[in-house]
Symmetry: D2
Subunit: 420 residues, 4 copies
Amino acid sequence: MTLPRPQPSSQRDALRAAYDAVRTHSLALAEPLSAEDQCVQSMPDASPTKWHLAHTTWFFETLVLREHDPAYALFDPHFPYLFNSYYEALGPRHARPERGMLTRPSQDQVLAYRRHVDDAMGRLIGAARADVLAALAPMLELGLHHEQQHQELLLTDILHAFSRNPLLPAYRATGPAHAAKATQAPAAPPRWLRHPGGMVEVGHPADSADFAFDNERPRHAVYVHPYEIASRLVTCGEYARFIEDGGYERPEFWLSDGWATVRAQEWRAPAYWLMDGDTRLRARGLEGTHVFGLDGLQALNPDAPVAQLSLYEAAAYAAWAGARLPTEFEWEVAAGLPGFTQASRHLWQWTRSSYDPYPGFRPLNGAAAEYNGKFMVGQLVLRGGSIATPEGHTRPTYRNFFPPAARWQFSGLRLARDAV
Amino acid sequence: MTLPRPQPSSQRDALRAAYDAVRTHSLALAEPLSAEDQCVQSMPDASPTKWHLAHTTWFFETLVLREHDPAYALFDPHFPYLFNSYYEALGPRHARPERGMLTRPSQDQVLAYRRHVDDAMGRLIGAARADVLAALAPMLELGLHHEQQHQELLLTDILHAFSRNPLLPAYRATGPAHAAKATQAPAAPPRWLRHPGGMVEVGHPADSADFAFDNERPRHAVYVHPYEIASRLVTCGEYARFIEDGGYERPEFWLSDGWATVRAQEWRAPAYWLMDGDTRLRARGLEGTHVFGLDGLQALNPDAPVAQLSLYEAAAYAAWAGARLPTEFEWEVAAGLPGFTQASRHLWQWTRSSYDPYPGFRPLNGAAAEYNGKFMVGQLVLRGGSIATPEGHTRPTYRNFFPPAARWQFSGLRLARDAV
Amino acid sequence: MTLPRPQPSSQRDALRAAYDAVRTHSLALAEPLSAEDQCVQSMPDASPTKWHLAHTTWFFETLVLREHDPAYALFDPHFPYLFNSYYEALGPRHARPERGMLTRPSQDQVLAYRRHVDDAMGRLIGAARADVLAALAPMLELGLHHEQQHQELLLTDILHAFSRNPLLPAYRATGPAHAAKATQAPAAPPRWLRHPGGMVEVGHPADSADFAFDNERPRHAVYVHPYEIASRLVTCGEYARFIEDGGYERPEFWLSDGWATVRAQEWRAPAYWLMDGDTRLRARGLEGTHVFGLDGLQALNPDAPVAQLSLYEAAAYAAWAGARLPTEFEWEVAAGLPGFTQASRHLWQWTRSSYDPYPGFRPLNGAAAEYNGKFMVGQLVLRGGSIATPEGHTRPTYRNFFPPAARWQFSGLRLARDAV
Amino acid sequence: MTLPRPQPSSQRDALRAAYDAVRTHSLALAEPLSAEDQCVQSMPDASPTKWHLAHTTWFFETLVLREHDPAYALFDPHFPYLFNSYYEALGPRHARPERGMLTRPSQDQVLAYRRHVDDAMGRLIGAARADVLAALAPMLELGLHHEQQHQELLLTDILHAFSRNPLLPAYRATGPAHAAKATQAPAAPPRWLRHPGGMVEVGHPADSADFAFDNERPRHAVYVHPYEIASRLVTCGEYARFIEDGGYERPEFWLSDGWATVRAQEWRAPAYWLMDGDTRLRARGLEGTHVFGLDGLQALNPDAPVAQLSLYEAAAYAAWAGARLPTEFEWEVAAGLPGFTQASRHLWQWTRSSYDPYPGFRPLNGAAAEYNGKFMVGQLVLRGGSIATPEGHTRPTYRNFFPPAARWQFSGLRLARDAV
């Protein structure tokens, strides 16, 4: 859902509604998962579902309740240590690669923790003086967008965990809605959308009342050269032709670090593809390339956008296709062009832009200063949004970011090229 | 319990009773653990409880039912892949470091798997022709001893997992029985028990009807020099003095590989000791050295035997104490001496003997050939048995073995020295 | 020296003069080093002196002689395999981390290789038809700039090797020239130079006859916000105050990856600083912080620019100082401002800009396409030039690049800040 | 040569002669190597030639001259730090994996160091009072045997370094002597030599005046079961049949750790074999399997003993051949049997015995206590001696030892089996 933007006249109600909606959605996402599923950590970069549920709760406890509610009593004195993610200013914390060790607290205790904090938040929102409410509203709003980010990560991470399980379990059954979505996928060739270039404004406007992260600010001018951008994402069928053409054996398409990774990790296809002849397919009597996803193992749909791609693979495909990735500014400006489809709700889209601070970037105050700024090195920007992104969470100025080798995100690509 | 040794006259009943007793005990050990606890794998060398429960079941399914019961139907065609441990002859298998990924099959499904196999085993034992019964009995018996080994590992591995959890949960509450056991611990100085040396026989006798593993055979003569061996295990209080005397900072006591490990891993005390001032103690308002165990965090009991020790630490302590570790043969021969206490049911006891094959060693036939022989390199022998060892499982000729850096076992030490 | 830019009227002579000058300078740099010194590789990212001497020769052999001189005979058929660096299009090659294994070919053989190629190049330059000369000139020129880059790396890499030698040998003796240079260092506080911002042009002009790498092109417009930039580099004395203020223990100044590196690598000061009390200083009876450099071990000169800094350290210092690093475009534009000192010939200067392709970037044709483009990910841009850079090699548009953790380069920092 | 065993009547002369002979031989071994060759370290377990030359010198300086010659002046105060190998009691030292960084001191300086120490040793041997001479003689003798061990390592290590060089240089040219030796190799099938078993004495006799290391003592009784041992070593031709029969793809022959190593390291043949079709062979126009050795690359000689084998490979071959490796005691006792050929001067021979202390083992006093004892874990015993072993250095009781994965030694195997 789109988070209702609180208005002065009804801020209290709007905050409560938004809080309830976001918090409920997290539980709904965890619902298909057993306590065992919710506890596993499949790699250092992924977190257990249970940890996501607790960490997002810790955020409200630490940055709203403990700051603004003198009567608030900690649910458990160990939890701040267990569920702080990376905020150095907020004290020591459990090591990230060890999150899967937390079989205790149990799933039940984490749910009780959520109820404890939700109750306190409800009381605070309902009873706070207007000036207190005004003071806490920005952090509460940040907490909701924060929780939405973890909602996507929850799906991303459990999909990774399931991909490591030889049973290849499905997060959810394939239903009519999903089948419908699949048929929405474009079968027609992409069109090239032209942008004339020139000075453009990018980033979130200072005078906007809508929420945006600090990394989207300040809005500023950049000069863009004339370019063309594809009307849709690259599909699995198109990507399969890259593989057939020796894409993973031809260094000329790859960035140097990418090629080194291909060799060291023995990449031969996207991470969740099972190529024809894979022992896991033969054990199930299946033929042809299959793709593992939230719906489990499915025959490759040539019209679906290719997903769980690293930047290295995206850039290599683009080079093979005689094109390139767009910059993040080209993407942002093009998002408003007629014919630009799949702008969000399909896949995050790698750009050729490193995740650098905008000119005049100012991190948030206090502990939230660590939210974005300290990660601005060694990563690249993705734009758009994915099927795992909560509805309404993103916007054209939104900057997602991951290291170039990351291939467990809902990430794909859209081609661009210089205009002649 | 001691496994009832089947007699010809009542073999069928005895096998059934033994089978039921061992299988029930596994479930009892898992009983205090949640589904989450049973799913976690805290390091590649440790396995989840759920995996232990399933793997021991797979052993009977594969080596008894599929061999001897033509009517047996696999519970699940994926399970042989998931729950084979290391038997190359029995097909491909899930990678050992990935066992913690198995959030599916669920705990419930694994219990159903156990029931499925138990039912089939009950039918087979009850109805098999006498010749079939005679043919399968050795493998069934091996399977029971195998499951007993995993019962100890189940406790060992969950203790390691809990040691990595900042909450330091207890596997079981400390009760009167346990307190009683603690007070049984020897406070008096150890006595040196003297053995005159000479030709001795070691290993399991060929004419014995009792069970023994292939690695205990054949019984053979060795020449032992006169020696003395301590009447009891080294205690925590004694070991604490080694630490106070700079034991972990003085290379002269350590094997070269041991000292390299001390430096690289920053060892300062046994793995499960929390030294005075540890942040985890201070967070709980505790002072003085504590030890983590199945009962959770407890103040160091100076009279309790020091446990979870690596061979490196055991050998370094012995060198500091002006003594040495016994050889496995010295230990075996001494186990019958008057005054030799804590022979089993306390801790496995490191010996100075590498785990080499006995002269004339013959592995078991078939897949069971891989049971012991292929591990005979790079490990050292431990003798005795521990508080985690099922009653009756061990005997003086029993050869346990682990690599010298292993420090998550119920392992301690007993001193020896050359007789003058 | 500045490479003489060949003019049409005297291209042949100019090429020959430039070639001789650059090639001679490489030998002069290697002259203080023994054959043993020239063979060592101190880490995978560093190369032996001998390898630098051979690889730069291979470049001319492969891309000029084999392309343009049908009569050219390979010096040794193994050398293309040994001395290709990273050009996938030019065939397989010796693994980079193994370059230190090449005790053969000997130093003498490598020098003979250089003479063989130099003779052939001399003949080719002298005797080539005008059209051939025109065709090969761009690659020859690229080869000379390439060799100049390796001249800097030669010094950088041998300094790293010497830093790992407990004897801490000096590459060269400290002489009057060097002492004079030291006293040139600024003692006065830096001034803030103001730039009004606006649309600026950056990159190498298309119509320039001067040499530039492909990564400096095309020249293009960017919008720069008003900013201030320091008139000089940060000094060792200033950096020492950052350390004294707990700079390496306070995460709030560091990028997240930087802080993780500080902890994992136990960074406490710049890589080549020996802090007061270091055992290597005490072994020599020295007190106070010292810095290791080409002149060996020297007492810290508080007025000298701080060097061999990673991007992480540079950015942390800037945050501590209430400032930031300039972008590469801010740096380039400011290089022409009055009062902007130490623009080159001191240290490369980290910028806050990731090494991304310019809009409309086109790599060179053929094998040289791999020269720059494939490294455009995961690195940051440095501008300026260092005491190790050959004279005349750089220009304000020059883009050097290294990963953010690199701390063996002649790299320092200059502060910037937003203008209010 | 066999070290002349000093007799009371001529101890001074004998010591001087032995000293001169051993020291001269080290220089002779280094003679074919350039300064570059002598500086390289190809892996942490191998040391540079130059380091071997200096370390053996340091041994005499530290344990003889500094102990027994008050007038001795250190050659260089840094050298004890640089050239101590692993003696914790003798102070801190340069890290082992960093020995290849020592381009300084130069080869010339190391040779001067040797002369400095040799001169001082000559003076001390010539002028010491008889009681001083008697006191230092054991350590001097140990130093000579120590240097002989490093003479073998020097060859072992340079062969490894050359094996990593694509030029595959030969340490020495193949000459008539070598060709003669090759033809001495046995072409006939091995014979099984029978030993009746029983109580035997092993180890070095206490009353012997001959030198032996502490790890060969005390001589003691062991009981040996009847067995047979092969009259000669396994040949390359025999080993090639193991490979052809799928030896490296069949886990049933391998120890568990060995099989894991085969998979992880992708072993397909002995380390220095180049199988038919290897790119390095094709680049030289060679066909058929070749073997790299001190004589460079040679066509596989089916009659030569297979070398540079790990224990894992040796044990796997033995299992494939329906035999086993002998224990170290079986080997020692058999060495005196008629028909037992290739006892030394060909290859070290892996045994199935872990390198454990003998009953009553006492390390040497003082710093030499670290010589052997602290390595007695995780290694296996090799017996015999190799073509790289100095003449007269070994004896049947000699215990060499290496970890089971080591495959850069002059190590092969001889089969054994239980007698029926």
